[in-house]
């Protein structure tokens, strides 16, 4: 691959994620609307919103960190994205995934949240900080099953590289981790829902209670950036799960198919369950998914 193509590939990387992610968000609003017995907004609505926001001439700022927060957020998320291979095979759209491993990715995922938290912090809205706090508290709960799952994965495949894990799952559905290591997958699924902001675990945003949580004070270009980041992030997570548990995708279509399946699961959960309080969320996470994960871990260790 020539250097030019490589650069192109890298530049395309976030955009793919952005567009797919935004579309998924649109679809999500649609589907949820349907479930709620109403017509949802158009599929492209989210994209439109973002562009509209970008075009807003004015945005209020509370200071340097307020300004930088969203940028750090997008930096973190995009960087993280670069270390998650979108396509398997290692030729196209694999970013820098050979330069980092699963743990790196896991930690990079938090960097975005940090940026947002810093911005919110300077914003000075107590509700925003409250939201951040809740988000971080929830994270304690979410990360455990997730980590157990990836520990099982890493232990099972004896590598921490996402590409390797994908490779080892090649060759049929039966090789997929979600079937070979079902308990780990189930455990991780809870975390996944949580991370996607699905309903039982959506307390940080908590739209009805704390006025959209962390993002309260952001407007205009900042909100636009944050929304795009959310889109990218959503895609990132979907991709990651696909990579880890479904053997990755050889091309974009398969990727979309697989991610869609995952996405649907999120939507179902979201629309069915009502919100947990943050301590309930943590408690729940520490009880059932963790238990399932630990069983998976024990099985893996015994094996």
């Amino acid at each position: 691959m020539s250097t030019g193509m490589r650069i192109l590939d890298l530049i395309a990387y976030p955009f793919v994620a952005f567009i797919v992610g935004m579309l998924y968000m649109g679809i999500a609003r649609n589907i949820i609307g349907r479930i709620h017995r109403r017509w949802g907004p158009p599929v492209l609505q989210n994209l439109i919103d973002v562009f509209k926001l970008y075009r807003k001439r004015e945005a209020g700022s509370h200071g340097v960190m307020f300004h930088l927060g969203p940028m750090i957020m997008v930096t973190g998320v995009v960087t993280c994205l670069y270390f998650v291979p979108i396509l398997s095979g290692g030729k196209w759209l694999h970013g820098f995934s050979f330069e980092g491993d699963l743990i790196l990715v896991t930690y990079l995922m938090v960097l975005g949240a940090l940026g947002m938290a810093l911005g919110v912090g300077q914003g000075g809205v107590p509700f925003g900080v409250m939201g951040v706090t809740r988000g971080l508290t929830r994270l304690i709960g979410l990360e455990i099953p997730y980590f157990i799952a990836i520990i099982v994965l890493m232990a099972h495949y004896n590598t921490a590289s996402i590409n390797k894990i994908m490779e080892l799952q090649a060759g049929g559905i039966s090789n997929w981790a979600m079937f070979k290591l079902p308990l780990a997958f189930i455990a991780s699924l809870f975390s996944f829902w949580g991370m996607m902001g699905a309903s039982p675990f959506d307390i940080p945003g908590a739209p009805q209670e704390v006025a959209s949580g962390p993002a309260t004070e952001f407007g205009g270009k900042y909100l636009a950036l944050m929304m795009s980041t959310r889109g990218i992030f959503g895609f990132l997570k979907l991709t990651l799960w696909v990579d880890l548990f479904m053997g990755g995708a050889a091309n974009l279509l398969i990727l979309i198919a697989k991610t869609f399946v995952m996405f649907i699961s999120v939507l179902f959960v979201t629309s069915v369950y009502s919100r947990f309080k943050v301590e309930q969320a943590v408690d729940f996470m520490w009880k059932y998914p963790t238990l399932i994960g630990l069983i998976a871990l024990v099985i893996e260790m015994v094996r």
């Binding site: 001439r57 004015e58 209020g60 700022s61 509370h62 200071g63 340097v64 960190m65 300004h67 940028m71 997008v74 930096t75 973190g76 960087t79 270390f83 820098f96 330069e99 980092g100 491993d101 699963l102 743990i103 790196l104 930690y107 990079l108 960097l111 949240a113 940090l114 938290a117 810093l118 912090g121 300077q122 000075g124 809205v125 107590p126 509700f127 900080v129 409250m130 706090t133 809740r134 971080l136 508290t137 994270l139 304690i140 455990i144 980590f147 520990i151 890493m154 232990a155 004896n158 590598t159 921490a160 590289s161 270009k221 301590e279 943590v282 408690d283 520490w286 630990l294 871990l297 260790m301």
Partner: protein
């Protein structure tokens, strides 16, 4: 040739001299400390890193114990460099912060003695000199702890009792070993231990471990640490938590890796290819980090939060090392370096903040970012490191620890560690938010100045170091490898260049990470700065406040609130409500009670009874010994 013995003496003498000379000329204190710092740094860096050199003390002191011997090897040099650098940075902090306090004179005395004794600990090559400097460290740091303490009675006593008790546990073990070996030299002791019966080795190991675990503030023995870290003189706390606790790490490594040997311990009893003792200690370490992390989150005092964080971080090191694998020890060492850097940075900055504002609680601080941008940056770097997030060195060290646990198949330990590691984000955020973001808790906060320039001398290099080690995670690898090799392990890492860090199951390229991050950040920054109009500056009260208009009096700072949720999470809440301190307090009460009763009964003031004692003893002797 200037050997380690002279390096040890430099700070100690400088301290004593500074005390007496400082009575005459005040700046002599700073001057001598600076001189000593420079000399120590020069000598420590000049010493060949992984060469094994031995010296013996030329004074007459050794005669009493055979001989006090000193020497260096890779591990020693590793820690010596750590100490020398911390000494340097803390010295500069002290120059700025201690100069108008009333303990100006004694601070430099004890501070230099502490530094010297730390060097002594790492350079000693026999148990006796190790213990001597260990005790010197204990008492000299004690004075630094109570120097500025608000509650010196409790803090100081707890500190000294725990540390002395730990040291004495160690001493008992030393004597035990000495009885078998007939010598205190490390190598002779090691040989003797190899020949000892299993139960004895176990006994000795446990006693030694108690000594080191106290220093590292591991769970049941950590009681002294939060108070001591919080209440010790601000500029010294960084040294305390960053470097003194590492002496526990050093001692632990020294004892378990070189003297007893993990293989030997493994031979006694092992769980899953890990020595049982190590396994138990690993769990202690990880439990420590979990509980300490939760407790850190709910603190209101800035330094106490950092203190608990320190306990938690050292807990990781304990866990990693006690498993006794090459990678684990490497991870421990790596994290030791990083933790030292981070804690120095954070404590120094916090000391500066407290110095400028005179406040040390989150509920009293806030919104200092506008007044202290550099300090904000320093804390930002610090917390990114502390949370173990990628671009900085903190991630690299944590990564190694995770890898070591994965490689040695201690998954449960890893899971437990993740609990703490994840929760750490909360206190990291609390730290930066509570001090620098949000709203000022009192108007006078908006008048403070940036921390003194002397602190920049410490802050800037430390920030750079964090960044460099994040960018080039392989930079430390050769040194750590040599240090690990000095403990008799094989190479732990696979990486060959300074950009990558790879071991066991994977690897990452820190250089790429930081480059990608940098490029994207710059791109976004340029994009936002050039292609969008400048944002409108809003007043800080111009915020969304549930349709109310906040005023200056409205309590908008959420500093103390962070972590309030934790109390409601059942298990965490339960753990936060219980203090192990209660147990120790009850124990102390019991001892006091026994003492009172004993003295009142035995020494009841009646001269006649005293006469009777003599007769009774006589009768007893005749009765029991007379044949």
């Amino acid at each position: 040739m200037i050997g380690p013995n002279n390096v040890i003496l430099i700070p100690i003498l400088a301290g004593i001299l500074a005390y007496f000379l400082g009575k005459v000329v005040k700046p002599a204190r700073e001057g001598l400390t600076l001189g000593s710092v420079i000399a120590v740094c020069y000598l420590v860096f000049r010493m060949p890193f992984d060469k094994v050199i031995s010296y013996s003390y030329s004074f007459k002191l050794p005669y009493a114990f055979g001989s006090l011997s000193f020497g260096t090897n890779a591990l020693t040099s590793f820690f010596a460099i750590l100490i020398a650098l911390s000494y340097l940075f803390i010295a500069f902090t002290a120059f700025a912060l201690v100069k108008d306090k009333d303990y100006h004179d004694t601070f430099y005395l004890f501070f230099n003695i502490v530094a010297g004794s730390l060097l002594g600990i790492v350079y000693s090559r026999d148990l006796m000199s190790f213990f001597i400097f260990w005790e010197m460290m204990t008492w000299s740091s004690y004075f630094l702890v109570i120097m500025n303490a608000k509650n010196p009675r409790k803090t100081g006593l707890t500190y000294i009792v725990f540390n002395v008790a730990g040291a004495y546990a160690m001493l008992t073990a030393m004597f035990f070993v000495y009885a078998a070996a007939g010598s205190m030299q490390f190598d002779k002791v090691a040989t003797a231990i190899a020949l000892m019966p299993n139960t004895k080795v176990l006994f000795v190991s446990i006693l030694f471990a108690i000594g080191f675990l106290v220093k590292m503030a591991t769970m049941p023995l950590h009681v002294w640490a939060p108070d001591a870290y919080t209440e010790s003189e601000d500029s010294f706390t960084g040294f305390f938590s960053g470097t003194l606790s590492k002496m526990g790490v050093y001692g632990f490594l020294l004892f378990f890796a070189t003297i007893v040997g993990f293989a030997n311990l493994k031979g006694i009893s092992s769980i899953k290819d890990t020595p049982t003792v190590g396994y138990v200690i690993a769990w202690l370490g990880v439990i420590t980090s979990i509980f300490a992390t939760f407790r850190a989150i709910v603190q209101d005092e800035v330094k106490r939060l950092l203190a608990y964080s320190s306990i938690a971080q050292v807990g990781y090191i304990v866990t990693a090392m006690s498993l006794g694998t090459a990678l684990g020890i490497a991870g421990g060492l790596y994290h030791a370096v990083m933790h030292t850097i981070m804690k120095l940075l954070l404590f120094i900055t916090v000391a500066g903040v407290i110095y400028r504002t005179g406040k040390d609680r989150f509920s009293e601080l806030g919104a200092l970012i506008t007044r202290m941008p550099l300090s904000f940056l320093a804390v930002l770097f610090g917390i990114i490191g502390l949370a173990g997030m990628p671009p900085f060195g903190g991630f690299a060290s944590k990564w190694v620890i995770y890898m070591s646990l994965l490689k040695s198949h201690n998954y449960f330990l890893l899971v437990a560690m993740i609990v703490s590691s994840t929760a750490a984000f909360l206190y990291c955020y609390k730290l930066i938010y509570g001090i620098f973001l949000g709203h000022p808790s009192s108007p006078d906060l908006m008048e403070v100045k940036e921390v003194p320039a002397f602190l920049w001398v410490a802050q800037v290099p430390l920030m750079l170091a964090l960044m460099v080690f994040g960018m080039l995670p392989g930079l430390l690898v050769p040194y750590i490898s040599k240090a690990v090799a000095a403990l008799g392990f094989n190479a732990a890492f696979n990486s060959t260049n300074m950009y990558t860090l790879s071991a066991a199951l994977g690897g990452f390229n820190g250089f790429t990470v930081i480059n990608v991050l940098g490029v994207i950040f710059v791109v976004v920054l340029i994009w936002y700065t050039l292609f969008f109009p400048k944002s409108k500056k809003l007043h800080r009260l111009d915020i969304y406040y549930a349709a109310e208009t906040p005023t200056e009096e409205t309590p908008l700072h959420y500093g103390y609130g962070i972590g309030a949720e934790l109390h409601r999470i059942p298990w965490v809440g339960a753990s936060l409500r219980r203090h192990i301190t209660t147990f120790y307090e009850k124990f102390a009460e019991q001892v006091n009670g026994i003492a009172s009763v004993l003295k009142d009964i035995l020494f009841n003031g009646d001269g006649q009874i005293y006469m009777l004692y003599a007769v009774l003893t006589l009768v007893a002797i005749i009765m029991f010994l007379g044949r």
